[in-house]
């Protein structure tokens, strides 16, 4: 549930109808079947308008990524803090209009970041935003007030990009609850849901491993 921009409205489509509606920016249209969907759809409203007016860049290296989900980090004194993490670009963002983006190829972001990393390592600064007591740590759709303390905790350096097809990341399940010591899940229920669902999907995916199209050069047993 990483998010590419801090001002992107968050939708949390627990049911398919509200997810589709949110993606289509149709918060107020359509006949909501019940009050629950109506409420959820109204919360999701804004994605469509945001997508039309948001500042776009033409590179992953110029984008900010946000965890949305909260996690509990333990500091050097043993005290626990509920945080959300962000990766802030060190490359200077250059705004590109949606019209210009429409002229590019369908995979230009992948091509661009590969070329950029070939030219030199790319870096993002890892920042954690610390919740105050009472902040909605259990709901990734709810923003925390903008004045929360932010702590710079590290740097992500990308030195090499490998294609997924035969790369070392393909056969790994990226389970958001597998965390190093000092970090653990919070009261946010989504990482657990993802862990459970990913374990099942990973099983189904690996069961069909032999049918995966591979390139001849990087073929693995």
């Amino acid at each position: 549930m990483a998010q590419r921009h801090d001002r992107r409205p968050v939708f949390c489509g627990v049911d398919a109808a509200s997810l589709l509606r949110a993606v289509a920016g149709l918060g107020e249209q359509g006949p909501p079947r019940d009050e629950n969907i109506r409420r959820r759809a109204s919360r999701d409203r804004g994605v469509g308008t945001w997508a039309k007016s948001a500042p776009w860049t033409a590179s992953y290296a110029e984008e900010r990524f946000n965890s949305l989900d909260s996690f509990v980090f333990t500091d050097g004194f043993g005290a626990e803090h509920t945080v959300r993490w962000s990766l802030l670009p060190t490359a200077h963002p250059v705004a590109v209009s949606p019209d210009d983006l429409a002229k590019r190829g369908p995979n230009f972001l992948e091509q661009e970041i590969t070329e950029r990393v070939d030219g030199g390592p790319q870096r993002w600064t890892l920042v954690v935003t610390v919740a105050n007591p009472g902040d909605p740590t259990d709901d990734p759709t709810k923003a925390w007030p903008a004045d929360r303390r932010a702590v710079e905790v590290g740097t992500l350096t990308v030195q090499q990009i490998e294609a997924e097809r035969d790369g070392p990341c393909r056969d790994i399940n990226f389970d958001p609850t597998v965390l190093p010591s000092g970090m653990r899940t919070s009261d946010d229920p989504f990482p657990a849901a993802r862990s459970s669902a990913y374990a099942k999907s990973y099983d189904r995916r690996t069961a069909e491993e032999n049918d995966y199209p591979r390139t001849a050069t990087g073929a693995k047993p």
Binding site: D171, I172, N173, D175, T177, V178, S181, T185, D187, P189, A192, A193, S195, S196, A197, K200, Y202, D203, R205, T206, A207, E209, N210, P221
Partner: protein
Amino acid sequence: MIGAKTGGRRRFTPLQRLLHWLMAVCILAMLFIGVGMVSTVMPKYLTLVSIHKPLGIAILVLALIRLVVSLRYGAPALPAELPAPMKLAAHLSHYAFYALMIGMPLLGWGMLSAAAYPVVLFGGVHLPAILPLSGSLHALLWDAHFYLAFAFFGLILLHVAAALFHALVRRDGVFDAMAPVPARGEIAPAE
């Protein structure tokens, strides 16, 4: 039932009975935790998984101890009048029990290893991987772990049915051999 030595005992040794009933509780809990775990996406999923892994390793350790104890002390002889097919079923079911008690934790451990998941026990202790990263191996072991768990549950139901049959219908002392406390009215055998 594994091991030929009986020492002429009518009951299993206290250590064997302790291991049996301790493992019975652990394994039953384990089966229900497993079914609950794969049936939910709620936060309790993480809690159940974090119990399932260390409990599985605990069962593996207990099963290995029990195997050694069983080879050392054997089992009381089945009643001579027990029909041969029932004796055979009793022996085979116990081989199946040991295979599952030792095999299931190893399948689970191997399955996690093949997916390069960390195997974390209580207190943050990490177990090493016992298999290399392999998607097809993971899928195979996952299926084996999943379906054998139901087979294990079926075996336990048969085991309980047989135990009750011995205790309530045949009343031949087979149940008392593993009962946690001696049946009332039982007279200690003369030395």
